[in-house]
């Protein structure tokens, strides 16, 4: 038996050692050496510069405004999704998660096409006013960044809020009704306190994502508006390691604080979660007229803000705004090999994404087990390791992997293994968490029965636990894959041209205004994500929401 215990530790130690080697160690070394080496600006010089202070202020303000907007847009949707009974609810729920897993750079394409100059809204206004020139452009600067972040995170709020609402015990509401509480005070006294943990968790996550936002700000910020992450990228390119490390240090301190708060909140809500789907639901026809109008207006807003960009990616794939013509050039680009074609990036995306998915399962499954371990300290260690990637910027990670892993091993001349590692690490929080949720839902009695029937440890794992875990492993795999093919920051940093993925190719094409090529690549990624999520939703029967 002692030998078996040892094996347990080996299996649990494996992912933790890997994460130390490929995440903690490179990042720590890079920050320390950047601050100590004396190349470029010092910590004080960096932070006393006006443009750094502007960047920091902008980063905080845009993250706060984006979070507020995402909550405003997301809460009604979450409440409705829980309350309203309608056909196709499972499908809608599955589709809502799509924006969240879309690659940020794809969102940029959709936004430019929907809200940008010569986009759908602009073309419509131009038609009405008979204007030959562009009238509005909401897809740039502060407004564009905020809108894109809202698009991204409102669905996250919706899912977390609706998941929490569905556990609301109907008896409490009924008692309140009998005691004469009106709908306002019912919301204030019962619903709000119930969803508060979910609300704060989604607010923190949203803030965290917007705070570290890179591709959206890089593309829509016109070089004027930068997050700390974007300024860090520029500092690295200008060989100012002192500045980059000074920025990274402050950024990490803030994000780690947020991530820890998020874990703590998660603990609280885990303890008092009731059975799922117990909430009282209503049909749309039961609502009053004003309520119906309000709901309809809200749905139209959601369709424009969240559905619009996704649908307009289809237009972006065919419509060239420069020549004002419809063309298939984007698709011929996707299937053209060679240095000017998109076939190489497409194959790279699938190849790296596939490997990253496998790797994140290999790391994620033991991590999930470690999280359920009864040995003191191990669950805390594993959950910290799992959430760490949420708080570490991809640019810092990429730079760390480059200097600490690639340079000594000579991998930098063909750095694709590093891209796979970076993509794995960035998607790991979601993968590990979905597997862990599956593990939590396994009935311990079944395992006891397997034990008492004389199954060996391996037999129990392979024939009982893993088959029961298959749905959540699939969920984890799809998340890993979506995160990997959408990852742009670290890949952009590490990749040589032969390593470009579609996400990087989209950014490149946007930069030189090859809009249909970017559009067609974006459409390909959207179809890939949607297909993966729909098939997974079928197999796993709707357990994606809990992952977030």
């Amino acid at each position: 038996m002692i030998k078996q215990e040892h094996w347990n530790y080996v299996v649990l130690a494996f992912p933790i050692v890997l994460l130390f080697l490929f995440l903690v160690y490179p990042v720590v070394i890079v920050i320390i050496s950047g601050l100590m080496s004396g190349t470029g600006s010092s910590f004080i010089e960096t932070w006393s510069a006006y443009n750094t202070q502007f960047t920091a202020t902008f980063t905080l303000i845009q993250a706060s405004v984006s979070t507020l907007l995402a909550l405003l847009v997301g809460i009604p949707g979450g409440l409705l999704l829980a309350r309203l009974r309608f056909r196709g609810k499972a499908l809608i729920r599955a589709l809502i998660i799509v924006p969240f897993v879309l690659p940020p750079i794809v969102v940029v394409v959709g936004f430019l096409q929907m809200f940008g100059s010569f986009g759908i809204i602009d073309s419509f206004l131009m038609l009405i006013t008979q204007s030959p020139t562009s009238i509005v452009n909401f897809a740039e600067g502060f407004v564009g960044i905020i809108l894109a972040h809202t698009f991204y995170n409102a669905p996250l709020v919706m899912l977390l809020v609706s998941a929490s609402m569905e556990r609301l015990n109907p008896e409490i509401e009924e008692s309140a009704e009998i005691l004469g509480a009106d709908s306002v005070s019912r919301f204030r006294r019962i619903t709000l306190p119930h969803i508060l943990p979910a609300l704060s968790a989604s607010a923190i996550l949203t803030f965290l994502f917007c705070f570290m936002s890179f591709p959206i700000v890089l593309s829509l910020g016109n070089g004027v508006y930068r997050t700390l992450e974007v300024q860090m990228w520029n500092a690295f390119r200008w060989s100012d390691y002192g500045e980059a490390s000074s920025l990274a240090l402050v950024q990490i301190l803030i994000t780690i604080t947020l991530a820890i708060t998020y874990i703590k909140l998660g603990r609280v809500s885990e303890n008092d979660s009731g059975p799922t789907s117990s909430i009282r639901t209503t049909r749309f026809t039961r609502y009053k007229l004003q309520e119906k109008i309000a709901i309809l207006i809200y749905l139209i807003l959601i369709l424009v803000l969240i559905g619009g960009p996704i649908v307009s990616i289809i237009r972006a794939a065919f419509f060239d705004p420069i020549r004002q013509v419809y063309t298939l050039e984007g698709f011929s680009y996707l299937f053209t090999a060679g240095s000017t074609g998109g076939l190489g990036p497409l194959i790279n995306s699938l190849f790296y994404g596939g490997l990253a998915t496998l790797l994140s399962l290999i790391i994620g499954i033991p991590l999930a087990y470690a999280h359920r371990s009864r040995t003191r300290g191990i669950p805390l260690l594993s959950s910290t390791m799992v959430l760490l990637p949420l708080g570490i910027s991809s640019i810092t990670l990429a730079y760390g992997l480059m200097t600490v892993i690639a340079v000594p091993t000579g991998l930098n001349i063909n750095p694709w293994p590093l891209i796979v590692i970076a993509q794995t690490i960035i998607g790991l929080p979601f993968t590990a968490r979905s597997i862990e949720i599956g593990l939590r839902n396994i009935d311990p009695n079944i395992l006891d029965q397997a034990d008492s029937l004389g199954a060996s440890r391996l037999q129990r794992l392979f024939f009982v636990e893993l088959p029961l875990l298959v749905p959540s492993i699939l969920v984890g795999a799809v998340f890993a894959f979506a995160m990997a093919i959408g990852e742009m920051s670290a890949t952009l940093f590490i990749a040589l041209p032969q390593n470009y993925t579609l996400a990087v190719a989209i950014y490149d094409n946007l930069g030189v205004r090859r809009f249909v090529q970017a559009g067609a690549s974006a459409l390909f990624l959207v179809i890939l994500c949607v297909a993966a999520f729909l098939s997974m939703e079928k197999i796993s029967e709707g357990s994606t929401g809990g992952t977030l």
Partner: protein
């Protein structure tokens, strides 16, 4: 009874087989990943890529004799972005460099400590083939050997504006450019991320500080919010050529030659160099090839740099790189009659000496950041 259950394989065997397969796959990848090419040259993304044939064909033709002589394969690693990013990458790799030679660092970037830290001075035996003024203009300490050069100036599309609608284009000053009309029509490049962008910033500083005796940041204050600063030259070029409101761009004095070659007629691109003190001015950019410090093949690297000055390589520069070859003894294609030549203008670089640039570059860039931050 037993037949009701499927026969299960021993999980230990399954684990063993999976483990063996995994090890085999990782080993294969390992072999592929650790394969090292013999000779590595770092360069930027548009290097020799502006001709009809594309970089691959041109580089193959230009360097095949060198490869044959030394029995090696040259791997041109094209790094995304400008030379700054190459320098940054070389710094990151300084502990264990994989590149032997780097092409594309210019006469401003070489003044940066970051660039000098990763290069090894080398005085090529072929320097006699080129005019020594180019060596002095690029780097008298021989960290770099001149490869090509060009003039950074303003260009405009004659289809959108011309000297009839805008007579000031003939005798352009920065004050003309600061008007809302022209500032909103001007595209330039980020001086942090692009060498023509930095050349333009230094041109502007030279004119303001040395010719006009005014505070250079005033001009940027005036154009901030109107001027379009793109990330790099390629982005700026596509903005200039596709956006009908952008007429002027910071680019190269050879662009009319490119235009004439592309159209097969008279060019539709013209140049508007700055005009002060009764003469036209432009900034001279010299790009060089440098030996990477502690590179894997220093002797091959030196031979490669010598070879870059041969006419086999130098003749390809005009039509594929759209710069002037440093071998001024070679005949230029006839379309280069449309380009401005260094003798046609006064060189702005002469107004700023290198010590001045070395001392002030970082603070100029910081001041630029401050002005351009809203």
């Amino acid at each position: 009874m037993m037949t009701e259950y499927p026969v299960r394989r021993d999980p230990k065997k399954v684990v063993a087989v999976v483990a063996i397969i995994a090890v085999l796959i990782v080993a294969t990848y390992g072999v592929i990943a650790f394969w090292k090419p013999k000779f590595v040259v770092y360069t930027y993304s548009s290097f020799m890529n502006w001709g009809d044939e594309g970089a691959e064909v041109v580089l193959d033709r230009a360097f095949a004799p060198f490869e044959a002589e030394y029995g090696i394969d040259i791997d041109f690693v094209i790094l995304q972005g400008d030379a700054n990013f190459i320098v940054s990458r070389l710094n990151a790799e300084a502990a264990n460099p994989v590149a032997d030679v780097v092409i594309g660092i210019d006469n401003i970037l070489i003044l940066q400590e970051a660039a000098r830290n990763v290069l090894e001075p080398y005085e090529s035996q072929n320097l006699a083939l080129i005019n020594s003024s180019l060596v002095d203009a690029l780097d008298p300490e021989h960290y770099l050997t001149p490869f090509d050069f060009g003039l950074v100036t303003l260009i405009y599309s004659m289809n959108t504006i011309n000297t009839t609608t805008h007579p000031q284009l003939d005798y352009l000053t920065l004050a003309d450019l600061a008007t809302t009309e022209l500032a909103s029509a001007l595209v330039t490049e980020d001086p942090h991320l692009s060498s023509p962008g930095l050349s333009f910033l230094l041109s502007q500083i030279a004119i303001y500080e040395k010719i006009l005796g005014e505070n250079w940041t005033d001009w940027w204050e005036a154009v901030e919010g109107n001027i379009d600063v793109e990330e790099g030259w390629s982005e700026a070029w596509s903005a200039w050529s596709t956006d009908s409101t952008k007429h002027l761009m910071v680019s190269y004095g050879t662009d009319p030659a490119y235009s004439a070659n592309y159209l097969g007629t008279e060019p539709d691109t013209a140049i508007a160099p700055f005009y002060y003190q009764n003469q036209h001015w432009a900034w001279m950019q010299v790009e060089g090839a440098g030996l990477v410090k502690n590179g894997p093949n220093p002797d091959l690297g030196k031979a490669f740099i010598d070879y870059c000055l041969n006419s086999t390589v130098q003749t390809e520069i005009a039509m594929n790189q759209w710069m002037f070859p440093v071998r001024t003894d070679l005949a230029l294609p006839s379309v280069f009659d449309y380009a401005i030549h260094p003798d046609d203008v006064s060189i702005l670089n002469t107004l700023l000496n290198t010590t001045e640039i070395v001392t002030n570059l970082q603070s100029w860039l910081d001041e630029y950041d401050t002005v351009m931050t809203p």
